[in-house]
Symmetry: D3
Subunit: 328 residues, 6 copies
Amino acid sequence: MMRLATPGFLRFAQAPVLEKTFGGGEANVAVSLVNYGLSADFVTRLPKNDMGQAAINELRGLGVGTGHIVRAGDRIGIYFLETGASQRASKVTYDRAHSAISEIQPGEVDWAAAFKGARWFHWTGITPALSDNAAAVVEEACKAAKAQGLTVSTDLNFRKKLWSKEKAGKVMGNLMQYVDVCIANEEDAESVFGIHGAEVTSGKIEHAQYESVARQLTERFGFKQVAITLRESYSASHNGWSAMLWTDGKAYFSRKYDLNVIDRVGGGDSFGGGLIYASLRGDEPQKAINFAVAASALKHTICGDYNRVTLEEVEALAKGDGSGRVQR
Amino acid sequence: MMRLATPGFLRFAQAPVLEKTFGGGEANVAVSLVNYGLSADFVTRLPKNDMGQAAINELRGLGVGTGHIVRAGDRIGIYFLETGASQRASKVTYDRAHSAISEIQPGEVDWAAAFKGARWFHWTGITPALSDNAAAVVEEACKAAKAQGLTVSTDLNFRKKLWSKEKAGKVMGNLMQYVDVCIANEEDAESVFGIHGAEVTSGKIEHAQYESVARQLTERFGFKQVAITLRESYSASHNGWSAMLWTDGKAYFSRKYDLNVIDRVGGGDSFGGGLIYASLRGDEPQKAINFAVAASALKHTICGDYNRVTLEEVEALAKGDGSGRVQR
Amino acid sequence: MMRLATPGFLRFAQAPVLEKTFGGGEANVAVSLVNYGLSADFVTRLPKNDMGQAAINELRGLGVGTGHIVRAGDRIGIYFLETGASQRASKVTYDRAHSAISEIQPGEVDWAAAFKGARWFHWTGITPALSDNAAAVVEEACKAAKAQGLTVSTDLNFRKKLWSKEKAGKVMGNLMQYVDVCIANEEDAESVFGIHGAEVTSGKIEHAQYESVARQLTERFGFKQVAITLRESYSASHNGWSAMLWTDGKAYFSRKYDLNVIDRVGGGDSFGGGLIYASLRGDEPQKAINFAVAASALKHTICGDYNRVTLEEVEALAKGDGSGRVQR
Amino acid sequence: MMRLATPGFLRFAQAPVLEKTFGGGEANVAVSLVNYGLSADFVTRLPKNDMGQAAINELRGLGVGTGHIVRAGDRIGIYFLETGASQRASKVTYDRAHSAISEIQPGEVDWAAAFKGARWFHWTGITPALSDNAAAVVEEACKAAKAQGLTVSTDLNFRKKLWSKEKAGKVMGNLMQYVDVCIANEEDAESVFGIHGAEVTSGKIEHAQYESVARQLTERFGFKQVAITLRESYSASHNGWSAMLWTDGKAYFSRKYDLNVIDRVGGGDSFGGGLIYASLRGDEPQKAINFAVAASALKHTICGDYNRVTLEEVEALAKGDGSGRVQR
Amino acid sequence: MMRLATPGFLRFAQAPVLEKTFGGGEANVAVSLVNYGLSADFVTRLPKNDMGQAAINELRGLGVGTGHIVRAGDRIGIYFLETGASQRASKVTYDRAHSAISEIQPGEVDWAAAFKGARWFHWTGITPALSDNAAAVVEEACKAAKAQGLTVSTDLNFRKKLWSKEKAGKVMGNLMQYVDVCIANEEDAESVFGIHGAEVTSGKIEHAQYESVARQLTERFGFKQVAITLRESYSASHNGWSAMLWTDGKAYFSRKYDLNVIDRVGGGDSFGGGLIYASLRGDEPQKAINFAVAASALKHTICGDYNRVTLEEVEALAKGDGSGRVQR
Amino acid sequence: MMRLATPGFLRFAQAPVLEKTFGGGEANVAVSLVNYGLSADFVTRLPKNDMGQAAINELRGLGVGTGHIVRAGDRIGIYFLETGASQRASKVTYDRAHSAISEIQPGEVDWAAAFKGARWFHWTGITPALSDNAAAVVEEACKAAKAQGLTVSTDLNFRKKLWSKEKAGKVMGNLMQYVDVCIANEEDAESVFGIHGAEVTSGKIEHAQYESVARQLTERFGFKQVAITLRESYSASHNGWSAMLWTDGKAYFSRKYDLNVIDRVGGGDSFGGGLIYASLRGDEPQKAINFAVAASALKHTICGDYNRVTLEEVEALAKGDGSGRVQR
């Protein structure tokens, strides 16, 4: 997806230029994994025009594999972003109807080839929300992934502008049968599956409530792990950020970071990327959730969707140095 | 007035470019009203050159009526702005001597025509400070407004670089006879009328002190309403922001917002715009002051003088959602 | 040194442009002194190319004397800067091996001429760290300064990428014999001289610990004054900032400022500049340390290495107005 | 239509930002007319989102009436532009499938109201190319215009990416019955109507060929006037530019300008705007074509789609001062 | 004077930022002289504010002496610049009424001190045009210069927006008694003194005509030298550029350069700077005029008022290498 | 190599930012080949820091293989670029002493692995000029290439700031034994081998002279092909551009393009890339030289070192469409 953001804190109508980058849930996760030293492919469908090519160039430059991207369709999805501050929230306007990925057809991707040698398949709830076709392709991919023995993870990522809660519940409910690791940000479990979680607008977060959500999700869908990010939005500029990992009937809570937010878009994806990385290298649950939260805390300081940080930077923060002293 | 601001936090001498926009007290209020769905005209005097035309284009683009602007004079007033941060205050350098508006003559504006169909006339204390002529034109306008039954509001807006307290007190004291609604920021009542208010540099705000100021103003000038904005300046980056509306002998205090300040120039004007809008649609005093403060809290996140927010955005904040969660 | 910084909070790889300015410890101090009304020369060695000339132009424009700069050598030292935020620290990458100054030879500067009419000579621990030659030139300069009766100050400024603690301890230990006023930031005393100071990563600062460091330094090297800056790094965006001046066996602690950090590079140098200025005009210790800390608090709001503030601005803050109210 | 252009001569993939403006055939003509002092409305269909609003703000700011724009639909059409130079042509990539205007329905615009008080209706061949609905709406508008006695003009503006020559010929052939003044750029007459014109890639232009095209068009469709722009593209940076007006069986050729091209997008529209203006004020044919060509020569020096020049500037060039001497 | 220019070829109303630099006839000449290795002071009057200081910083950075600048007055003069292209001329809008220099009083500058050690005094016709006071100060300076034995040069630089031909003729006519070297661009001799010169709008330049102008000027005012720049403006992007030096009753014509114009503001001043430099080092007339024209040819490729080129660069061009091959 | 260019036509000292990209002879050729659909690796040595990584990211993003790049050394080479115009040449200042590639050691690159599956090895005369080590590595690579049956090409690319003509002649003379295809720009043959060629500063190009150079080169070194680019530098903005291919004792001259130069750095490399591509696909000599010249003509319109054009764009120009008409 092409991201066209106003510079600084400008509103759309007053911006003479738009900052052009690319991003999107699954791509963001792939970039994180590559940054930590793994290899990862991003599989999607992009048009054969300059916009599709530029998206590929950016990912390829970051080291993400792009060899299984289908080049077809009319247009790349776009989202316009205004970065908020203080009491004014960031604003996303989607222009992705009729995007190449939304018109993907089952059979277009050779999933067996794409998954060859892979250990993990990650997708987010945004893709099946795009169209029935896209949902069918996600299921096709999930089946292929399971057939090849990959771990499958998802981020629920409910987007109310893309589909209704009812539709989401139905489609996602079906897809959960393939999922081993389920990531949810604060309101997703309730929006998609009607599972009541924490009261997020109050800013107060109760651990017990989050454990309850994870337990319910696990019971209903048989996940191996559930990870829930806990964002306390004091304002668009200032957030509390932590997470919980639920595994084997036990909850592991991370440290909570006090964030000056530079760019929170992609924050959840950077958490997913951190968690998958930690899982793949075999971290214990507490270490894994600490790594994932440190990674995503750093993301909030990075402009653009991708979490442009190194393994060493995440490790340093996870080990406790959040002082922000100049590195020189 | 043309606003030439250094980008980011640059000081004047180090800025290779200046960001060019337009603004000024009354224009800022007009933009707010139009943004909320009302129609509003900005009446002023601007030179027949590219700078005057660009000011008109910007306002016209935002929907403000510009049909009564007198095109004459030699130059547009300019102000140079450095945006401060932390312990460094924003710095405004005026270059508006001999501006077109400062050389306006009584009779140049057809106020009867300008006020046709209007319900409200708003002016600020900056205009009469520009020159004796300008003060005479303000009085001319006030008389016309009252003659046509408009509500008249003013924002005291004392600027010590434009005139002395003595001159301000005399000129403004006379003009207050036409005023129904008086808006004052923290130090204005004392500077212009010698009415002692809150101790603003301490950061502590005592409600009783503000009520006392409003009562004194009302008693002296017979205002229907007095609105006082209460800014607690912890630093250039961090303010507390609230306000009081005094009407019918009673004080209504708004919620207080904790602001990360992006651009506070125009903050008071956005309050005025919010208050006038709320009054015109008939809000109860508590609702009106809440709306005005929410509107102006948002202004502090908007670059430029104008409060580029929608009615929906102000309403959402006034109703309590200041969490800054991404809107998508 | 040429400073090439990414704009905003961009990481190096994603920045299409680099902001080009100049800076460096001693130059930064010189700019501060000139800004407060003194005359000051910056003495260094710069190549005869556009980069060396641009460095001179920038300093000359700010009023710093550049007449004793040696024009020779192959290249100007460069440092690349990424400005951090929140939990992500700013990152400096040096590219100054083989810089003109690092290849300076004793005898190239006519120190007697450079010091003619001067009262003070300031150098930092970065210069002797560049090369043995550079260290020899610093000693040469110190001797000349003492011979001409100048007060000599240093800022320890340990840079672990330039030399080891052992080498630093040896070279700096020798140079301390010429020093009257020693400035150290938090970890320098320990890194260079093994003198144990405050535990800085905890964020807690104990006055007694700092006094102990100053006493030990004074006892070992016979300094007239020791100044220690006390930075509490809550994050890259938020610091506490204060300092202690130790003189005549007594410690003077400044007020502590709560900083929203815009650019902290050069923060220590701006403290040094403030302290030297206050000393030269004969401030009492408490007033001097207050001035130096106010000056350096303001630096944290200024983009670039130099502290582009006026004497009036520092005085206003030192007197207590840190409210950040718009100056107009 | 939103125009997202790379800065300078950057290719899409290398541009960190895109310059955001708005434009499009009919809008461009409207801006020209307003710039010369007439009033003009732009009638289209734009979505109720920030992008649609920003398009309106820009036009409104320039003085174009926007009161008849229908606010509906999902998205604004976008075109991406790379500005070429020398042997590299400018490149336009359209992303306007499913735009609000392409999904307009007959009956959505109240043409009688839109045309009230108007004298002229101009449309271009791009609009009916968008969709059958759009073509139907153009016919609806033409009928209303004729019913209200307006002069109707069109610019053939064939875009091969939007429809085939066959489809264009059929649809446009039908619409020509309403047209009084037909404007064609070089290849349109042949592409749309199969009427053979000048050999344009050779750079040589034969007057007789152009007269023949105009005569054929007039004979087939009964136009009152035919205007043909004659572009000699030596390169993307260097063009010859002139035009012919055919009226009453006679051809009037303009002076030819030698253009250093800054931005040629909108060049044809600026010609149309100039011609309509000249016609409305009653210029003789030779004067009219001279005005229209001078206007459009200037457009090639203006960034963006709109011809941001004044009547005085066009007149001065039409009278012969193309020396480019500084105006001061 | 502060120069606020739109970027690229933008028109004023469409520019989001203005490029801030400084310039003006005499300052431009001073920069040229310093660039060639001479020392030069710029003497003017500038306000004690950030704008005045920034002007000084820029000049000081370039090496121009600023020690005799009077710091007083209310505002710095401003000019707004749109850079033209092809048939669209660059446009200058002055905003310099009431500038500090225009309000200068005789006696404010200590000319004897300013001229100490100097060999040459240059002024332009813009300064006496600003006000009667300014004209009086120019005469005061001329008298002091002659008293101290300096060569005095002037550039007629007629600006029709500043004064009438009649006024200019009278004031300048009087000042010519002090002038040794008179520089005129194409139309000045006629505008100021009614001396008929070349027909400049035709683009054809007749040598004989220029000789006649120089002879007349010399006869009337007794100049030692007259230099006339010969600009052939084919368009705003493309000029022919040459000059003639008249001395001892003989005309020396330079080579003519074919210029792609990047920025022609300051072109005449760069010629003056080159001529003064060549004269001061004792060049023969032919060599001097060649140097001055080469210098000013290069100026047309430099952004901003100042001719930022080195002596070596001018010499190389004057010797014939105008091929523009990359220097590496 | 990192390229830090001033924006627009700014001189180094006046540029607030530098445009950061990467480039260099062999990298530029690799990018061209990949753009035309071949696979190509760039083999070099880059430091393990952000600058080295960013260089890799950029190349990788464009599709160039980076798997054989050695990550070691202290710094990346830098070149600073000022883009010239008209009579002012572009200026390159190198800062590449001690760059990672200049300190490469024989044995660091596994050439057998790097050449596996390859058909062609291209290097330029810049690399052996960097250091004796680098020259030894080039010879090492040439031997490996010949051993594996690759065609070897070189571009003489003499840089007088890197080595003397004598040293170049000796080192290059030895390396020529491995070369099949020799590319030379205008002055290289003479500078490196003392072979007299065309008089390039005159602008006149004589075919016979070029043939003579090619014949001499072939006779001395036994090349299969010699290609000579023929640049006629009328100015920095305007060049004539053509080339000759000498093969089997016969010369093939391309069409000559009249170029408006946007960025000529990398022009020769884009010619080399085009020629290698055409050779690899088996073009006849005339077609090959036409393709190479068309490719490099387009390069002069592209910002940055790399020739960011597609095969289709080059083909279109080679077939004759240089009209620069908008592609839409």
